[in-house]
Symmetry: D2
Subunit: 239 residues, 4 copies
């Protein structure tokens, strides 16, 4: 499978705390464990030409992983539309953490995608609520992350088609942390964890879920529909 | 309940066949039976100032009914955004027939909303597949319309949260003809029938479904969430 | 609307702590606030003849509220089947707390309905995750209950058709606390709170949710389908 | 993957028309194409000891395919319960055609699973309505079967978690023909076609869908939850 990991790649260059955790950028950490799992992985970042997302790159991407936070507005409108278009066409999309506010995700959801948040070293415990789902392969009853940013309900998304994880936060909130959506021929997995100031993407269980999500999101040979004016297949009576 | 019926109102002025069926416009026919059902009903049309959808009108609308077809592109981007915003805030939305391609519906769905179509006097039979749903109140096992435009699958919408009607068409197609969605605090009902060259909105069962849909879509006093940075409710331990 | 409140009514007779909180039984407390809301309310209990659920009572019940805990097995199989049958026919069902293990709910769900539990005075905070749903009318962002029994995931139910509340528990768990299902013409609302040793059913917000749930669950005049061998409506060609 | 194909295997022994189409029984035809696809396939039939479904067979079955029609009542209650239990534990289940009325499916659904039917050589056209779903791999916009038994709505099942195919029938009906459900750790796929008097299971596209369904239904290593009394993970304050 061809995976492209897209990262805004700004915090790592500007904040030494983040640079210390992800010296080559969050994208390289994520690309690393996906490569180890046997996938062909490219990376792309905001400051590259066309954000690294040329037509050719998109056409050759089975699943796109997206991390962004502080520069959603700098993503070019046309490129956001092109990514959305490719998802509708069948490219899988794994949306991580603060990418809930990315242009691509918001366009696909149709809602504000707003939520509550707090940076206060909350403990997070993500409970599996759909133990038949392949995205939970290899996971236990829950994942625990000792310190993370809190995201709390209400999360203003459309009702997820599948709700896989619900997070408990130490400060008193809950959150729908793992959720799937289909749009056109595309499959979308939103996965909450991964604030840039914590080493969350080194967590083996978090890595496992992202791998599972990418595998689930890949579309293999489902039908392409024809739209528009259509001749009748059966006879239509005179009336 | 305060209902606003919005109509593009162009076919009626340009096509004598349509003018003959709906001499005062589709909006007045729809407004008529909704008023008879006891609601306060306004109308609004494309060629009015701000398309008749001022901030005040939207603020005082509980449920907006939308019919449009050939001039979706002429709907002002800001007004489409304002309508979308009001839906997320809690205004109900009933989307009729060719309004599947309206800016408002597409923005809320996040997909192309494309489909197959044919104007060939197909017989349509809409089967009730969710007989527990209040939108089916007063309806039998199915609604039958002798001649209608065909809409066929694939209908490129997100998976409906509730699927209420499935249409059978004489020419060999099926269609998800009655479907509900929630976005933010807003409830949305898409209902398929109503091509302008047929007298569909005089059909008593079609009228009943539109009334039921408006009633279902009204939001009464559900919570308004607060978003953004949030203090903890419980103590967070030192780590 | 005609509501029947069914209670096992054993704890109240055997445990002085419970008798002290609900001297006339949980059913009378629930019936009380539903009557105040303007409904016609009957009660029925396990130790009455036919558990108080004769064919006539069921036929005249629009919505049945069910509370049971320690004597699910004493509910007669035929009566459980009759209740299930009435739900499929269109009677609403509000399932409270430990009734997750009732025969009626398990038959309708098809799963074990098992969960984690603990009686340890956990604080519970039920977050609204579907602020468009009429069951949340009059509620804020969350309901808080100072002490309750904990119910934790995984809750072994089918995926709810609508997920309305998610609980946070002090001891570290989450739970899908408000969930709806449709079965046949019947609408079902499961609502978690209400352990017998706490005064939960005196909580005004809990009462509001139960009223909202009963109102939502009522079926008014939706279609009754005909099943079995069916003549064709359209001509079938010779082949 | 280990697949067990279960067949009632009565029509083939009693009706020469059926025997002619499926001389070794429907189960061998289905087992044949699943073996060709590389799976380990067993068969089991009603008249074998324990219907061929011993504890050992069930324990070693990843996905069970079920065909039954006229003898659902002869399936032993305990074996039906054992199969249901294995599904909840994680065994996939593919339910074919008239098995909508099987004990196992009805227990898992909680509804009557009733429907309309007619044996009149209707043409059936199954439209893909979820083109992102892996069960549609290798299929076009629709599958067409020249002659089949008609099944019509209302199909009294819980709302499917995923609706993949909708059938159009020549006589005027529609049907939700491909639908998925999750129960516990188990995944269930209902697929409509396959009346015993037609050679439907020789249709390559029907075979493809059944293969896809079996592949989709297999559970690989998702978590097993612990139920019952649970110690707190976090401290609970004195109140």
């Amino acid at each position: 499978m061809n995976i492209t990991v897209w990262n805004e790649y700004r915090h790592e260059k500007e904040n030494p705390v983040v640079a210390d955790i992800y010296p080559n950028g969050i994208h390289h950490t994520i690309a690393g464990f996906l490569e180890e799992a046997g996938h062909m992985v490219r990376t792309a970042t905001l400051d590259e030409e066309q954000h690294g997302l040329t037509e050719e790159v998109l056409a050759n991407t089975d699943v796109l992983v997206w991390w962004g936070h502080k520069a959603h507005d700098e993503v070019d409108e046309d490129i956001a539309e092109a990514v959305k278009h490719r998802v509708l066409e069948g490219m899988g999309l794994v949306v991580l953490h603060s990418a809930h506010f990315s242009k691509v995700f918001r366009k696909l959801m149709g809602t504000t995608c707003d939520l509550k948040w707090r940076e206060a070293d909350d403990r997070e415990r993500m409970w599996v609520v759909d133990p038949a789902h392949p995205i939970t392969e290899g996971i236990g009853q829950y994942l625990e992350i000792d310190k993370e940013e809190m995201y709390g309900e209400h999360f203003d998304i459309p009702t997820p088609e599948e709700l896989i994880f619900i997070s408990w936060f130490e400060g008193g909130e809950v959150f729908r942390s793992g959720a799937t959506f289909k749009r056109g021929r595309g499959k979308i997995f939103y996965f909450r964890p991964g604030h840039e100031t914590y080493p969350t993407y080194y967590n083996k269980e978090v890595q496992q879920v992202i791998q599972n999500g990418a595998k689930w999101a890949q579309n293999i040979g489902t039908p392409t529909h024809i739209y528009g004016n259509a001749d009748p297949i059966e006879n239509i009576s005179e009336k």
